[in-house]
């Protein structure tokens, strides 16, 4: 049966999970050498569709055609042998093994008697990497690679399998801007070689830069497929969420909050240093102010937060809250002084996954809600219920084990946990990382509302438009130092990047990690 729909055509795909329609008659096609962006809110059905394509799920109804031929994909192995590979968000490599060993994992080249032919594997890996201009050493253990390099190794593995279709799920979520640029170059190079790429991302700017076509999913249905040149990002977002929520977010891009005059700083940090990590960090934060902390990953932003909150020690320096020196440096002391940190990794640092919503929310407040060391169960329940209502945590059940909530609701529990204590100073580390556009706008609104009650917020974010839209002032960090300060009126993304680039150049490190320039040699 000949159907002319490029290299891949998924026709009328439907899938139901325990009575709930996850996908309804979705069509999706991919041309050879095309970069096709697949977008939609969390739960729109992107992952389900891709899991059907890679054989993880079985579809209820529908057909899949490869090169016009109908195929059955029952498991991941069949998908691979048909030339379909997926690059996972969490990379599936073994860190102790080298690049070559990972690429040949499970299909090692062998000499007689099952002895692994290490040399042939290295040679073939080198040929492969050279062919795609991936600058990696086949004998480097994956553990020594940076995230971006690991991703390249993962892509190389997909290519080694002879993949003609590569699915990339949020590939840039943990990359710096530079690294992301390199990845884009790589993706473009792949598409030039005829590999079709399905690209899933929450970052709209990437889609504008990369994609040839865009398919929008909403509530398990295909809203439409568009030539990327013919549709604006605003339109895509509107189609994704089905409402004009970003208008609300945009109307307040310039914060309207007026800073109170002549007040002492809420938080005053002087000369905070830690050998090899932080150097002479000084700044202050006023009531009702949002102070942005911009910079690349690894520039020391999270380390500032960790030192302030007392998770990490510091060598010299002083932290004052409302003029009072913060004596002991521990999370408990910071908490009592009204300063809390919403950490960046909700699984690792924010939540106890096997505890209930209530247990998680009340944990930092347990001292206030007890007497003589005995916990007041009723007070705890009240605090938890309030947080669940205010943040609209779904389902509104405080006894629910957090592990069983969706990602967005888990993030709300993290926020609830820290906001319930009515802090004076709130440090937010990547508050919208991996959050879909709908919840993101909601969290932005929440952050703005908080400042109206006089809370001072230190906002760490790698999302430049976000930090620019929310912050009254911005500090730019590089290499553990504050390198510049911008006011909200004057700042642009270009200015911040220019500041960072200036410092990188000054350190003469540009060529060291810059894959792009080396590639052209």
């Amino acid at each position: 049966m000949g159907v002319d729909h490029g290299v891949l055509f998924m026709k009328d795909i439907s899938k139901t999970f325990s009575g709930v329609k996850a996908l309804t008659n979705v069509n999706f096609d991919l041309r050879p050498g095309e970069i096709h962006a697949l977008v939609g809110e969390n739960g729109a059905g992107k992952s389900t569709l891709m899991k059907i394509l890679t054989g993880v799920y079985e579809m209820d109804t529908g057909e899949i055609f490869l090169d016009g031929r109908r195929v059955q994909i029952r498991n991941v192995h069949e998908a691979r042998s048909l030339g379909i590979s997926i690059i996972f968000q969490e990379l599936s490599q073994i860190p102790q093994l080298t690049v070559a060993q990972n690429i040949f994992l499970g299909k090692e080249l062998q000499r007689a008697f099952g002895i692994v032919n290490e040399r042939a594997m290295i040679r073939q890996t080198k040929t492969l990497l050279d062919a795609y201009q991936i600058r990696l050493n086949p004998t480097t253990p994956v553990a020594q690679l940076r995230t971006a390099e690991r991703q390249l190794a993962e892509i190389a593995k997909a290519l080694s399998l002879g993949s003609r279709i590569v699915i990339m799920d949020e590939p840039t979520s943990s990359l710096t801007l530079d690294e992301a640029e390199n990845l884009f170059r790589m993706v473009k190079a792949l598409s030039n070689q005829g590999v079709g790429i399905i690209y899933i991302s929450h970052r709209m700017d990437e889609i504008g830069k990369l994609a040839d076509r865009v398919t929008v999913l909403r509530d398990g249905k295909r809203v439409g497929t568009f030539e990327a040149k013919e549709i604006s990002i605003d339109e895509i977002v509107r189609l994704m969420v089905g409402r004009d929520l970003l208008d609300v977010d945009r109307k307040q891009v310039k914060p309207q909050f007026k800073l109170p005059e002549g007040q002492p700083p809420l938080l005053d940090v002087r000369g905070l240093s830690r050998a090899g990590v932080l150097h002479d960090i000084s700044f202050s934060l006023k009531q009702g102010e949002i102070l942005g902390l911009a910079g690349l990953i690894g520039s020391g932003r999270s380390e500032v937060a960790r030192a302030l909150i007392g998770i990490d020690p510091f060598d010299t320096g002083e932290i004052r809250i409302n003029g009072q020196v913060l004596g002991v440096s521990s999370p408990g002391a910071a908490l009592r002084a009204g300063m809390v940190l919403v950490p960046e990794d909700r699984h690792l640092q924010g939540l106890i996954m096997r505890h209930s919503v209530e247990q998680n929310i009340v944990l930092p407040l347990i001292r206030q809600s007890s007497r003589w060391g005995i916990v007041n169960a009723r007070a705890c329940r009240r605090i938890a219920l309030e947080a669940v209502q205010q943040l609209r945590i779904v389902p509104p059940d405080v006894t629910k084990i957090v592990r069983f909530l969706s990602g967005g609701n888990q993030q709300k529990v993290v926020l609830g946990k820290w906001l319930s204590g009515k802090p004076k100073i709130l440090i937010l580390d990547e508050p919208t990382l991996g959050v879909d556009v709908g919840s993101k706008a909601e969290i932005h609104q929440l952050i703005r509302n908080l400042t109206e009650s006089g809370i001072g917020i230190l906002l760490i974010s790698s999302d430049m438009p976000e930090i620019i839209a929310l912050s009254h002032r911005m500090l730019v960090m590089y290499d553990g130092r504050i390198q510049g300060e911008f006011l909200q009126e004057e700042v642009t993304e270009e200015k911040i990047m220019a500041k960072i680039m200036e410092k990188i150049l000054a350190k003469g490190r540009k060529s060291l990690h810059d894959f792009g320039t080396e590639q052209n040699h």
């Binding site: 325990s18 996850a22 739960g43 609300v248 939540l351 779904v394 069983f404």
Partner: protein, 328 residues
Amino acid sequence: MISEPSKTTEARDNTHISATAVMRTRLRQWMVYLALIALMVAFTFASPQFLTSSNLLNIAKQTAVVSIIGLAMTFVLTAGEIDLSIGAVMALSSVMASFVLRDGGHWLVASAAGLLTGALFGLFNGLLTTRAKIPSFLVTLGSMGIARGIALTITGTLTIVFINDDFTEIWGAGSLGPIPTMVIWMAVVFVATYFLYKHTIIGRFVQATGGNLMAARFSGVNTNMVKLFTLIMSGLAAGLGGLLMTARLYAGRPYVGEGLELDVIAAVILGGTSLFGGKGTIVGTLVGAFIIGVLNNGLILLGIGTNVQLIIKGVIIIAAVFFAEKTS
């Protein structure tokens, strides 16, 4: 604010999973009770002596030491640590108390010596675990050898005998009406630990520490203090166990409590406390201790020796962990 009712398929799917998971956990909690009842019914049929009031009291007495230390161990495991030294520490505590009694010391001084020995070993374990960052598994494996070695050395491997009616009456040999004092001590420790675990800050902190160390630290929990606390607690419980054993045997024996860690950890895990921290149950531990107690007692009545008992208990531990981790 923009409302975003989360009716995504993932969320729904999760709700579905959680319902079955909750059912499974419930089922598991009931399984412990059912196992205890089934075991008792089986032994009743197998041996006429089993279901007699004197034998049941005997079981309660035999269970006292395992359950008291198990209740403390519930805190240790919940905090994500383990204490393998309890049996050896119990022996050393017993020997220390016996020395005081043999030399004519007051029963209070002897009791203090026993409890202090336990607490100091707990402190030692705790400091090495939290300050030197040696895993508690290894620290307590080492201190198990140290405590047992000291007990054997200072006694010359001999039993220390004494006569002190006050001591034996209060701790292990006496009774209050029909109820043996050992059972009363078990009840006291049960009530205290139940309250501590469920209704106090320290109980919550123990659960948070084992549930997610990083998240607990970010939440202002001094996780090192919490771990230190739980290890001192298990040391103290081992000390108390030592006093009870000493009183029951009217002597201090350096070999006492060998293999006790197997019984105690089996009881706690059987009860439903996670070996990986964060979740535990005090009531479950008591039931688990009784399962071990009934098993020990019943097997003896059936003429099955302690050697075979060891095999059976080993199998039970592995099976309990296997099922617990499958269901959670």
